[in-house]
């Protein structure tokens, strides 16, 4: 039996870092998506400049 409440301490510490790590993962995913979108739009502008 966890008489010193270590289980809840572990839950607390893990939760605190898990949330921040999840945020970092979403930041990284969004960065990749933005870079792809930027590249796609640059190509589109170049294409339009050549055709127009």
């Amino acid at each position: 039996m966890d008489t010193r409440n270590f289980t809840f301490l572990c839950y607390g510490l893990v939760a605190a870092w898990l949330i921040l790590c999840a945020y970092v993962v979403t930041l990284a995913a969004r960065e990749r998506k933005l870079q792809r979108e930027l590249e796609r739009l640059r190509l589109l502008v170049e294409e339009k400049e050549h055709t127009g």
């Binding site: 008489t3 010193r4 409440n5 270590f6 809840f8 301490l9 839950y11 607390g12 510490l13 939760a15 605190a16 949330i19 921040l20 945020y23 970092v24 930041l27 969004r30 960065e31 933005l34 870079q35 979108e37 930027l38 739009l41 640059r42 589109l44 502008v45 339009k48 127009g52």
Partner: protein
Amino acid sequence: MRPKIMLAMTGIAALLLARNLYVILQVLPDEEHQNAAYRIMFFHVPDAWTAFLCFLAGMIASVLYLAKNDLRYDGFAASITEVGLAFGAANLVTGMIWGRVIWGVWWAWDVRLTTMLVGCLIYAGYLMLRRAVEEPGERAKMSAVVSIFAFADVPIIFFSIRWWQHQQHPEPAKLPPEWWAALFMNWIPLLLLAGVLLMLRMEQERIQRQVDGLRRTIHAF
């Protein structure tokens, strides 16, 4: 230059966190009633301070955007609000876990918890609003107004313990001095991490402005 600064900040934060974890887990004794679980507070409280600071900076940047009409202030406000919300969520979840030990329930509807939840929901709404509005100028103006109004909740959260004294949440002023030292020492690495996350997020805002500019160019053809 910026990646080096971010790397240095992350390194210092990691070292400080390692040192703080040693102090929190090994040096400080168990609390009489809560045993080891009270140590959650050393992350729970600095998470809240970091979130409040981010929301304050977001509000100031929003005021500056409305005064100067410069989209960089809007980008800063959006970035820092999002970082603040991540720390606010960490504060809420760690508070729930701590509350389960102390009160025997995962959620007690006391004023501080409820106002913090409301604050996080308002700021989540702020971020959703930004996704819903396409035109950058309009998005910035509407977001700035929401950010300024949303900040009204922060002093209510902060002073709720004094204003509603019957509530369950403990009074931080009664903490022993060595706990205060550990709290402040653990706030430093969290602030450094918030700074790194802010820089990463602001870079995304810069790319987003480029994307918006290219979209306008394509529409002009």
